[in-house]
């Protein structure tokens, strides 16, 4: 397996308020990058720079102990909003992808949520 690709250091807006945490562990379950881990029955941020601000953890924290400015790390979307274009951006991989397994090949979906059939598709919509 290749070494883990890392993105920029010290950029994430992720905050964990440990005093609110009751140790349910949901944030650890949903994080796709191992940013959080359980430590003595409570959640801890163990790999801050791996955070992609997807907000899965904060959304699934019943105690609202986690805050993060959610967003998609997508240059095209930022450009679109800067230019005041409508049509939001959605990027990223197919949720259920598979590389070389029996379930077909890796799927990527990056779709614009514009009514079909006339859809402008840019690299990341």
């Amino acid at each position: 397996m290749t070494r883990k690709i890392r993105y920029l250091k010290d950029v994430t807006t992720l905050e964990l308020f440990e005093e609110k945490c009751t140790g349910c562990g949901m944030c650890v379950v949903v994080c796709p990058h191992g940013v959080l881990a359980m430590d003595n029955g409570l959640a801890r941020i163990v790999d801050r720079d791996a955070c992609m601000e997807c907000s899965a953890c904060s959304r699934n924290c019943p105690e609202e102990a986690i805050t993060v400015e959610a967003g998609v790390g997508c240059a095209q979307a930022i450009i679109n909003s800067a230019l005041g274009r409508s049509g939001d951006a959605c990027c990223g991989l197919e949720d259920y992808s598979s590389s070389g397994s029996d379930c077909g090949t890796t799927a990527n979906g990056c779709e614009c949520e514009v009514p079909a059939p006339k859809r402008k598709r840019s690299g990341c919509c």
Partner: protein, 377 residues
């Protein structure tokens, strides 16, 4: 009429009196995907059954979606579906109504009996839709109610893809519907192991990696729109050169147009193919930087493709590097690990560079156009 379903509509007839809308409810029979091969009868009506086989047209459909060819039939009507012969105790897998997602999921369900609850994500995959909230708490709750799920099954477990978590608040769903959201694995290839393992995911199943195969799969999606731009720009360059150049219109258009085409293809290849594939091994962390690096390497090839003077060489070098940097920066949107804060930060630094490089490149190119005896290479 007894408990026969009126095949003509979404309405089921029971004892001639009660009219209960079919469980498929929002699924118009005319809209059913081709993968539907029958139905499973439940206490509240029939549920469409889908095949676990991928037909040639399914595979072709996926291939077309990857290459961005047409957008026909990329959605599946939302609602409840079945695979095999599920009963009241069978698992419910929640998914998006993007056809590729749906097709890959059902093809992973061979030999299984499960329910598939398809949410209306407007034809967008789970992760993207979760980021927008269309694969979200509200839609999930609505779909649970519309499909009368609590009457179809006798348990309260829903298996939701982990990458749907940015849109779904499990505690909220539980509070409002009493259904317990269990997050399944990130990757579809692990779903069988997850189910067989008593709905438990290993730590590895909870991680979203970004392996080479996956990066390669996205390349065409990025390349198709970029290629269009290469052609547009080339045509504009050819037109301007033809008009402003010193030779005949056709000579200049061909000469400068072909130069532009070569340089832009190099830049597109460097930023749209090489950089994404070599992502982990390129210097720096910012995508724009990685792309500038492959662009610079590609620019070294310009003299081999294009016989140019100093001005033109500098111009196309700058434009190639800038284009490559931009395209790789755009790849952030298809990557699985970039954050909004991070992309904003790199763009603040990279975009001014890219714009400057292109502007200087254009000025140099115009300078070359006016100083060179156009059409002579």
């Amino acid at each position: 009429m007894s408990d026969l379903c009126c095949a003509s509509s979404k309405v089921c007839c029971y004892d001639g009196e009660t009219k209960i809308e079919s469980i498929a409810l929002t699924i118009d029979r005319d809209d059913l995907p081709a993968s539907v091969i029958g139905e499973v009868m439940t206490s509240v009506g029939p549920v469409p059954r889908v095949s676990t086989e991928m037909s040639t047209s399914d595979r072709l459909g996926i291939w077309k979606l990857r290459w961005g060819i047409g957008r026909m039939g990329y959605t599946v009507p939302p609602g409840l579906y079945s695979v095999g012969e599920p009963d009241a105790g069978s698992d419910v897998l929640v998914t998006a109504n993007y056809r590729m997602t749906f097709d890959l999921l059902r093809s992973c369900m061979k030999e299984r009996n499960v329910w598939l609850l398809v949410l209306d994500t407007k034809g967008v995959n789970v992760w993207c839709a979760a980021g927008k909230g269309t694969f979200g708490t509200e839609e999930l709750i609505k779909r649970i109610e519309l499909s009368k799920l609590s009457d179809v099954i006798n348990h309260k477990r829903l298996i939701v893809p982990q990458l749907g978590a940015p849109g779904v608040a499990a505690h909220e769903v539980r509070k409002r519907t009493s259904f317990k959201v269990m997050y399944g694995p990130v990757e579809l290839r692990d779903i069988s192991a997850y189910l067989d393992n008593g709905r438990r995911a290993t730590p590895a199943m909870r991680r979203k990696e970004f392996p080479l195969a996956e990066r390669a799969a996205i390349v065409p999606m990025e390349l198709v729109p970029a290629s269009k731009w290469v052609l547009y720009i080339t045509l504009v360059v050819a037109l301007i050169s033809g008009i402003l150049g010193r030779g005949t219109f056709f000579e200049d258009a061909l000469h400068y147009g072909s130069q532009s085409l070569f340089a832009l293809i190099l830049g597109t290849f460097a930023g749209g193919v090489v950089a994404p594939l070599m992502l982990p091994w390129l210097p720096g962390r910012a995508f724009a930087l990685k792309g500038a690096f492959t662009g610079a390497a590609a620019a070294l090839l310009i003299p081999f493709f294009i016989l140019t003077t100093g001005f033109e060489l500098s111009a196309w070098t700058l434009i190639t590097i800038s284009l490559s940097s931009y395209l790789t920066m755009n790849f952030t949107g298809s990557s699985t690990y970039t954050s909004l804060s991070g992309v904003k930060k790199e763009m603040k630094e990279a975009v001014p560079f890219q714009i400057t490089a292109v502007s200087v490149g254009l000025i140099l190119w115009l300078a070359a156009l006016f100083t060179a005896g156009g059409g002579t290479a």
